[in-house]
């Protein structure tokens, strides 16, 4: 009872071991439930009880085997998993990089200068309302089914929202700071690049971090439509053979990649200890 009442107190400080245990608990519960469910399906199947196809719920050993297969070089010396990871990583990285490169300056200028605000904000608002996947067929027609259309999809999906977010962050810079910079002899460009940009940079990283899953979702969607390598391509390919082990392996890998990317950005963001103080 005491433990339950403490759980609902706002000032409870958890010891590290308990916090780590609570962090891991949901993952362990999901894994245990999944294995129990897989065993149940197999039991029912063995005893002739109508149930799902056991292939739909592979055991951890099957997933591990699928992983080993995917890192074994094929007859052409190619490693399937590496090819897929590199293809997806390139599209994802380039798309995100272009979005950040364009979105940062545009957002700062839209947030800082009224002329840019009047010109850029309505189009940003309008573009951010369009579901980028609806544009995929148009992109395929314009750019073909090569890399350009997939990268363009990420840029279209991430850029408008990112620009508006950077503009919002820029507007949050106090006008006093701008005036202070002007009294120190800063020109308009210097205010944008020497005062505003460094101040909002950690928040820009946070915004990119928030866009990671959107960009990743878009690249998977594009790959599932037209590609010859990539995580999305492979998952949709092996789906035809009901190769659930490979699908789950790739889903878990995708999750790990996202987790690593998120951690990377979070660590980078936390390097700026003055942020949000």
């Amino acid at each position: 009872m005491l433990a339950i009442s403490r759980a609902f107190r706002t000032d409870t400080k958890l010891p590290t071991w308990l916090r780590v245990a609570l962090n891991l608990a949901p993952f362990i519960l999901i894994a245990i439930s999944y294995v129990a469910f897989a065993i149940l399906i197999r039991y029912q199947d063995a005893h002739g009880i109508p149930t799902a196809n056991p292939r739909c719920v592979p055991l951890p050993g099957d997933i591990w085997q699928a992983f080993l297969n995917s890192i074994t070089p094929n007859s052409g010396g190619q490693i399937m998993l590496l090819d897929d990871l590199s293809a997806t990583g390139q599209r994802f990285g380039i798309g995100l990089f272009i979005s950040a490169l364009l979105g940062g300056p545009l957002g700062i200028y839209i947030g800082l200068f009224p002329t840019f605000t009047a010109f850029g904000k309505p189009i940003g608002d309008w573009l951010s309302k369009i579901q980028p996947l609806l544009l995929l067929p148009i992109l395929f027609i314009f750019f073909g089914i090569g890399e350009e259309s997939k990268i363009a999809l990420i840029v279209l999906g991430v850029l408008p929202g990112y620009i508006l977010e950077v503009a919002r962050m820029t507007k949050q810079i106090r006008v006093e700071q701008i005036h202070k910079a002007q009294t120190l002899g800063a020109s308009e460009s210097e205010i944008a690049w020497s005062i505003v940009f460094p101040q909002i940079f950690p928040s820009m990283l946070a915004s990119i971090r928030a866009n990671l899953s959107i960009a990743f979702g878009l690249v998977i969607a594009a790959e599932s439509n037209a590609a010859s390598a990539g995580l999305g391509y492979r998952i949709f390919l092996v789906r035809r053979f009901m190769d659930m082990s490979t699908i789950l392996e790739y889903v878990m890998l995708a999750m790990l990649i996202m987790f690593a990317a998120d951690l990377l950005f979070q660590t980078w963001e936390h390097r700026y200890r003055w942020n949000n103080k």
């Binding site: 002007q182 120190l184 210097e190 003055w274």
Partner: protein, 324 residues
């Protein structure tokens, strides 16, 4: 006579914001002349337009009618001629204490492109301790000079640069932050230092320290200071000349006026003394009592004519008028 700040018949009013609304006048025909080296304190109740005057001088706001000149030039934008210290947000949070103080000279001495290109190169050379190469880069030389100047200024302001130089503003106390903000402005050697409620957020002890500090800096640097505050004691203690603004005044016929007017403009006897030593003077007590009972009240509007004559110059003018 040459004035460093000259506001001539400045009125600031805002148009009606919505249908059926009325326009509002913040300042009504304000004329204020400041001579070089004066320590002007502007006092008044909340919302009386003190900060509006400061913004007019700074150049971040413009009068609806009238002209503001600083150094004989009409004010059209914020320039490096004026330094500003706010109650908050004066420092750049992403820069350390020394970087904040050195920010102005670096911004002034180097171009944006030069900084963007040279900063990473200089950072690498710094790590490699390649001093010979560093000396050949103009940006590095300007940066080092600015840092040396910042260190010197920080020492003069009692900031202990060796101990606190690499601390970010959030790691400094409120008083230290204000000292850094003042040092940051002084690094640019401005002809006018504007201060907007600069000591309002500080505790009593720190406030007293800062009053003495700004007074010492004023005497040392001979900068004209334009200090806006709502604290009457502070205004009387600090300034050599006190300006009191009020929205509650009546004209010669007793009709209530619209927008703030200068109801007191007078030199403070003993205003050159250090604020902490000025507290007990008779002049101080009398002046504070008189202004508290009249100009700082919102209840009974005060006659503008009665107060305008408190200005020594105004008294002199009236005597001359009567004599003629």
């Amino acid at each position: 006579m040459k004035y460093i700040i000259d506001t001539q018949h400045c009125t600031v009013s805002y148009p009606a914001s919505n249908k059926g609304g009325t326009s509002s006048t913040v300042l009504n025909d304000i004329s204020l002349q400041v001579q070089p080296g004066e320590f002007i304190t502007v006092v008044g109740t909340s919302g009386c337009g003190k900060s509006t005057i400061l913004r007019l001088v700074l150049g971040s706001q413009f009068p609806t009618t009238g002209v503001v000149t600083v150094n004989d030039k009409s004010v059209t934008r914020v320039t490096r001629d004026t330094g500003i210290v706010y109650q908050n947000y004066s420092l750049f949070p992403h820069l350390t204490m020394l970087e904040n103080i050195a920010a102005g000279p670096i911004l002034e001495g180097t171009g944006l492109l030069e900084r963007l290109l040279c900063k990473p190169i200089v950072a690498v050379l710094d790590l490699l301790k390649a001093n010979a190469l560093l000396k050949r880069i103009r940006y590095s030389r300007i940066r080092d000079n600015a840092r040396a100047q910042a260190r010197e200024l920080a020492k003069r302001c009692g900031l202990e640069p060796e101990k606190n130089g690499n601390k970010y503003p959030f790691e400094l106390s409120g008083g230290m932050r204000q000292r850094v903000a003042i040092a940051q402005s002084l690094a640019m050697k401005p002809s006018i230092l504007l201060m907007d409620e600069a000591f309002s957020g500080l505790d009593v002890h720190c406030k007293q320290e800062m009053r003495d500090f700004i007074h010492e800096q004023w005497k040392e640097n001979k900068t004209t200071v334009f200090f806006v505050t709502h604290d009457l004691d502070e205004a009387v203690m600090l300034g050599t000349r006190l300006i009191c603004l009020s929205q509650h005044w009546t004209d010669e016929e007793g009709k209530p006026g619209v927008g703030a007017k200068i109801v007191i403009d007078r030199k403070v006897a003993g205003g050159d003394e250090l604020p902490s030593k000025f507290v007990d003077s008779e002049e101080f007590t009398q002046l504070v009592e008189r202004i508290s009972a009249t100009a700082m009240q919102k209840t009974n509007p005060i006659s503008i004519t009665a107060f305008e004559l408190t200005h020594p110059d105004a008294c002199k003018a009236k005597e001359q008028l009567n004599a003629s």
